[in-house]
């Protein structure tokens, strides 16, 4: 593999091109080449979820991908979370109103993960919310108000109510819907 490669991809709805180091992670490329510093690096081990982005319509950990894998894809970061109402994404609003964040470091990854959940399961149970968020670590909130924020967004939301999921979503597989089926609340 050459040291450098050219990538061309859609970032937050805009076509972007760059020459990047082929060994650099997607997270570093998004942060350093494209200024998307809302992609936070908490562990670079694929565990904490702070660097979660939308990669071809599905959540992915930008720390576990290489930048060159972005070539030809569509990526949305927290900076590009769309809202058809032109306001903040509903989850961005409910995270604040429910006090679902303190230091804010895990928040971009949480919001993107929660947006995917609501897209796939419009009325999730508390167990489903906790399962969906279980790959995103938060040290500040004890998750209580994050769960509340997601529930409020799901209750208030809908595709035309500011909980939209980025264009380019690859359509739901049955597996995806199943994966959030989960156990009943306990």
């Amino acid at each position: 593999m050459p040291d450098e490669m050219r990538i061309s991809f859609t970032l937050n709805g805009t076509q972007r091109t760059a020459m990047i180091k082929s060994r650099h992670t997607l997270a570093d490329v998004l942060r350093d080449e494209f200024g998307c510093t809302g992609v936070h690096l908490g562990c670079e081990q694929g565990v904490c979820g702070a660097c979660t982005v939308v990669f071809n319509g599905r959540t992915a950990r930008a720390c576990l991908l290489l930048g060159v894998q972005a070539d030809g894809t569509s990526i949305v970061t927290i900076e590009g979370m769309p809202s058809e109402t032109g306001e903040l994404h509903l989850l961005q609003q409910t995270f604040s109103s429910a006090h679902g964040l303190q230091c804010g470091f895990c928040t971009p990854g949480m919001i993107i993960t929660a947006a995917e959940l609501i897209h796939e399961v419009p009325a999730p149970t508390e167990t489903q919310i906790r399962e969906a968020l279980s790959g995103n670590l938060c040290r500040c909130t004890g998750y209580a108000n994050i769960v509340l924020a997601v529930r409020r967004a799901a209750e208030a939301g809908g595709p035309d109510r500011g909980t939209s999921w980025p264009e380019g979503a690859s359509g739901l597989s049955d597996d995806a819907a199943q994966s959030h089926g989960g156990a009943p609340d306990d």
Binding site: G38, H40, E79, C103, G104, G142, V147
Partner: protein, 777 residues
Amino acid sequence: MTSYIGKDVARFEDLRFVTGTGTYIADIRLAGTADVCFVRSLWPHAHCLTIDADAARRADGVVAVLTAADLAGLVLPFSRQFYSNIDPILEAEYGLWIGPYRAPVLASGKVRRVGEPLAMVIAADRYLAEDAAELVDVTAEPIAPVLNPDEALHPDAPVLHDDLPSNVHAEFTVEVGDPVGAYDQAQCHIEQRFRVRRSNGCPIETRGVIAQFDAATRQLTVWSNTQTPHTLRGYLAEMLRLREDAIRVIKPDMGGSFGGAIYPEEVAVAAAAIVLGRPVRWIEDRQENLANARHSRDQWHEIRVGYNLDGKIVTLIDDVIADSGAYNPFNVTLSFNAASHIRNQFDIDNLRVHARHVLTNKQPTTPVRGAGRTEATFVMDRIVDLIAADLEMDPADIRMRNLIPASEMPRDMGMYYRNGRRLIYDSGDYPAQLRSALEKIGYASFRQRQQEARRAGRYLGIGISSHVEGSGYGPFEGAIVRIDGSGKVNVACGSSPHGQSHETVLAQVCAEVLDVPPDEISVRTGDTSLLPYGGGTYGSRSAVTAGNAVHLAAVKLRKRVVEVAAEVLGTGSDRLTLQGGRIFDLANPASCVTFWDLARAATPGSGMTATPGLEASAYYVPPTVTFASGTHIAIVEVDPSLASVKVRQYVVVDDCGTMLNPMIVEGQQHGGVAHGIGNALLEEACYDSDGQFTTGSFLDYLLPAATDIPHIDVVHESHPSPLNPLGVKGTGEGGATSPPAAVLNAVADALRPLRLELTEIPLSPLRLFLDIEAAGG
């Protein structure tokens, strides 16, 4: 007047965080920045012989490799501990002894732990710096490591520091009443050894430092995600031998912390910026963070408790060993906190705590959320349950029998606190708190629920823990409140947040006094150029110390505002009212001035006021700590076949005095409880028998996830503190103090026939499995 204190005001800092536009340390971009990778010790204990960096210096993109030798003329080692101003009363009363303290910035000669920084490889980017770091060749002659206090206290153990006679670095004995006599006279006795294992503070953001030195003006600017910018400035001035006004420390947005210190990396990066004359940046990775930042707990408590057949606890004798790791930067903070809080909410007249800080070849232990209280509370509340089991009494009854009644507040606990003041519980109603918690969780009906579950093959258990928390540690906090040229109110404060919502809460405090909506008040923190003195955020102190500093400054400014208005309006200030950003004569409301008018009037040279300026500064110096408290009840379900524990229900009754913003108080409680549940069941920082650190990833070090934490009910039973103008008590750490005891008591209750002793946290599935097996379950 509109009341802004006590309202659930949504946070002003949220907008930038939910949109990903906050500026954390790694988001700062300075042209020409070089990245640091630290070369760290691979040995827990060794004579470090040589560091050969020639190959690294020649590597692609490398700017420099700096070792201790390269910094020798520039940087002094750490020679001063935190909280080093020990009140002489503690030495006189408790025989407090603290050994000499000297810790390197970059080690040379001897390394004392795996991970100790040896050299900095500085390159064009972090990738290149990491590549080159692998080329640095360090040779060393290993010394036998001492990895636990038993080894370290052995007469033949290698001594870590040449200037100490042994591996004990600090020691004291607190004695209240006649603990030994009371023990001899008590009707019943329990002796038990408890262990609170080592864990990490673990913010989701790792540490980071950026430093820039302007050689022309000899100005050093350091960005660091520190809890204490002013303290860092002081250390940098001392250790780099710079004037204090030549250093500016800036704390950007900060992704959590949960325990503060001044780290060698902060000084090393600043020194590198001076040497290289270009911006130097170090952003830690997670493996580095888990091994080298914010280790805590790691205490052993050898307990003897005497009690009577009616359940009354009469004496407590505790021999504490704090495993401090290779250096002990916080002297007796953690052990003295344990000694001061171990009697919890209970009326125990006799106490003896003998504590020793023992040095071992591991990362230093420093305060993390709870900071000695979590350890002491775990020990005390497990004991209460062991007593209940021994006497076959209900733990809730035993607790109620021993609680200090509200009628005895304030209660002098018969000893001195770490600040040299009397340890006095200033306010609270502990019995009411317990009753409230019991009611909220449905304690009365739980036994029936438990029996029904048991018949269905499910093991439910319930556990109680309470705590007290000396909060708002001094010596001071500062604030400046001013009205700027646009008539807007600005607050600057020396305490800065890493999630605590200063921008909102301090605005509420200021708004209350100046009667301006809080969203019109800007709050700036985290910059030593804002005000000359600052404390920081630690020890559940910001609401108490920063809140009252802002309050006092705002009161002074309000007085000044009215004085200036009187000059402008040509009336007596006693006739004026301040309301909604306007100052007017009640008898003639049409004649009024706004803050904007006053800003004009107070401009120097306006000719409208005798003295210019609309600004007031205040430093709040608390008389001592104020005691917050809480009672927690957990309901857990244990699956004995898997030795797994699931926390099903959790209730917190919290007394943090006046709540400035209840929504934010609850958030602090939630986060603390999750941290405490992590300590109870999951989190352990481990070294193997060779002294190698083995929990260097989040797959090894288990933080609680959303699925590990139940819904948490928080009930407020507020008794305002009589010690400060706002009546506030701290709330940052209480949440993390009781969960280990509540959860383990609940596990013991779920498996009560096995009479498990459960003397260690974290209670991992393996430990519980072994306990169940040993009990014949």
